[in-house]
């Protein structure tokens, strides 16, 4: 089955070529670096909240952890942007790898759970900690599992690709 030609057009564009082939340290590796920063912020903060909801470090008050959602969204913004740039650099490599789709699906569900945590657990400022933990425990478990899955899938992309560039 032939691969769609638009993948080749993206790779042949000057921006995509520059990202991949530039000698400047601000090319592909810079984008990849900020993708790592973004995931450190997003998953670091989310994991902190998840683990607290599951009862670890109970001396940390739950309500103030609401502020960490801003950090999570900043991380997500960085990763959505850098993710698109990475996709522009190596579109064939990503689109022809089933692991990439698994990653996106897991991220999708993890972000959905993040919004549920924000709206159902942390939005009600009058709720007690016991209430919050009751509402959030199952969400927290899924969140952790999905993020570990998403990160693993992301890491595996470097080792499971079939094509690095559009095959001629």
């Amino acid at each position: 089955m032939a691969l769609p030609l638009f993948l080749r057009s993206i790779e042949e564009s000057s921006f995509s070529t520059w990202l991949r082939e530039t000698e400047s340290p601000f090319g592909f590796y810079f984008v990849l670096l900020f993708h790592t920063f973004g995931l450190a912020l997003l998953v670091g903060a989310n994991a902190l909240v998840d683990l607290r909801l599951l009862g670890f470090s109970p001396s940390i008050p739950l309500a103030p952890l609401k502020r960490f959602f801003r950090i999570m969204w900043i991380g997500f913004g960085i990763n959505a942007t850098t993710g698109v740039l990475l996709l522009i650099s190596y579109p064939t490599k990503a689109v022809t790898n089933p692991v990439f789709y698994a990653k996106l699906i897991m991220i999708g569900f993890a972000i959905w759970i993040l919004t549920k945590l924000q709206k159902e657990v942390f939005a009600d400022t009058t709720a007690t900690e016991a209430d919050m933990m009751a509402r959030g425990a199952s969400l927290a478990k899924w969140s952790l599992a999905l993020w570990v899955g998403a990160i693993s899938a992301g890491r595996l992309l470097a080792y499971t690709f079939k094509h690095i560039l559009y095959p001629f």
């Binding site: 920063f37 470090s57 008050p61 990160i151 890491r155 080792y159």
Partner: protein, 324 residues
């Protein structure tokens, strides 16, 4: 300064430092002195940290002399195998020491099981480090060898220990035999970094004034997660290095990353061994940390982001250090 020189400079720490640590540890037990015990645990942790660049620079030292006449590959391999075994015990001693220090912080002294295991592992480490030193000396000092024959001759004790020392070449092959094993190690390295950034990041941000409603003491309780993440990353890092030693050794980004990790050790010392931690640890919600704490928190964040950056750039800066 080249890698061979660095290796000769650094090797003093794991070999002599551990002897000093054990000496102080034994005196602390005899004198029932908790302060001295804590000091020796700090020494073990610092020696464990310094053992890492010592080990890594060994490959560069080997590269500098392996082609020279009179240098035996057999002796070099024996030294490297001894070093791998000793490093394993050194890092366990370091991890146990950090656990003991954490316990000292919570209940004023380490638990009995911790004292016993630190004693056991540190004594084994001292013995193994002595062997690393001797086998290393054998490589370039024929005057200390038991016989004139450059082959590796073992005494009784040496033969017993030899059985546990891995063959460096086989270990390297094992790490790179399966790409999914490598992917798993890199994956765990990222999980470790998330544990570190999540815990240390939260503490640093709180000290800098973010989410002031959190009491600092509670956020500080996250530190064991960071220590666990660091342990995962030291393990996966060392295994990765053994898997591709030349790749990492001749890469400037790798060395600056290791240097940044050493600076983080200094940062931790500045935090815990000065007044700063005492002032900050009981701060409740709403309280603002003093400038010294903010400086330590900011430099911690910058250094960890630096570690991530340098780690990511290792691939781009391959072969940036000359092999000679």
């Amino acid at each position: 300064m080249n890698l061979a020189h660095l290796h000769l400079l650094l090797n003093h720490f794991p070999i002599i430092g551990t002897v000093v640590g054990v000496g102080l540890f034994l005196f602390s037990l005899a004198g029932k002195n908790d302060d001295l015990k804590r000091a020796s645990l700090i020494i073990f942790a610092v020696m464990a940290l310094l053992s890492l660049p010592t080990f890594f620079s060994g490959v560069g030292a080997e590269g500098a002399i392996v082609e020279l006449p009179g240098v035996s590959n057999v002796l070099i391999d024996r030294h490297e195998g001894a070093a791998i075994l000793a490093l394993f015990f050194m890092e366990i001693t370091g991890a146990l020491s950090l656990a003991g220090l954490w316990q000292s912080h919570k209940v004023s002294r380490p638990a009995r099981w911790n004292v016993a295991s630190v004693l056991l592992f540190s004594l084994i480490t001292v013995g193994l480090m002595a062997r690393v030193g001797t086998t290393g000396g054998d490589v370039r000092h024929p005057e200390i060898r038991a016989s004139a024959d450059p082959a590796a001759n073992e005494g009784t004790l040496g033969s017993i220990v030899q059985a546990f020392e891995p063959s460096p070449a086989k270990f390297t092959k094992l790490m790179t035999a399966d790409k999914y094993w490598w992917a798993f190690m890199m994956d765990m390295h990222f999980i470790g970094l998330i544990m570190i950034i999540g815990a240390v990041g939260a503490l640093d941000l709180r000290m800098l004034g973010f989410a002031k409603a959190l009491p600092i003491a509670s956020v500080h309780r996250l530190v064991p997660w960071a220590l666990a993440g660091f342990a995962i990353n030291v393990t996966t890092g060392v295994l990765a290095f053994i898997g591709m030693p030349a790749f990492y050794t001749y890469d400037i980004a790798f060395w600056i990353k290791i240097f940044a990790v050493l600076l983080l050790g200094l940062n931790a010392a500045a935090f815990y061994l000065t007044d700063t931690f005492k002032v900050v640890e009981h701060m409740g919600p709403g309280e603002d940390a003093p400038p010294s704490a903010k400086f330590i928190a900011a430099s911690s964040l910058v250094l960890w982001l630096g570690v991530i950056t340098l780690g990511r750039y290792i691939q781009l800066y391959q072969s940036t250090i000359s092999t000679r």
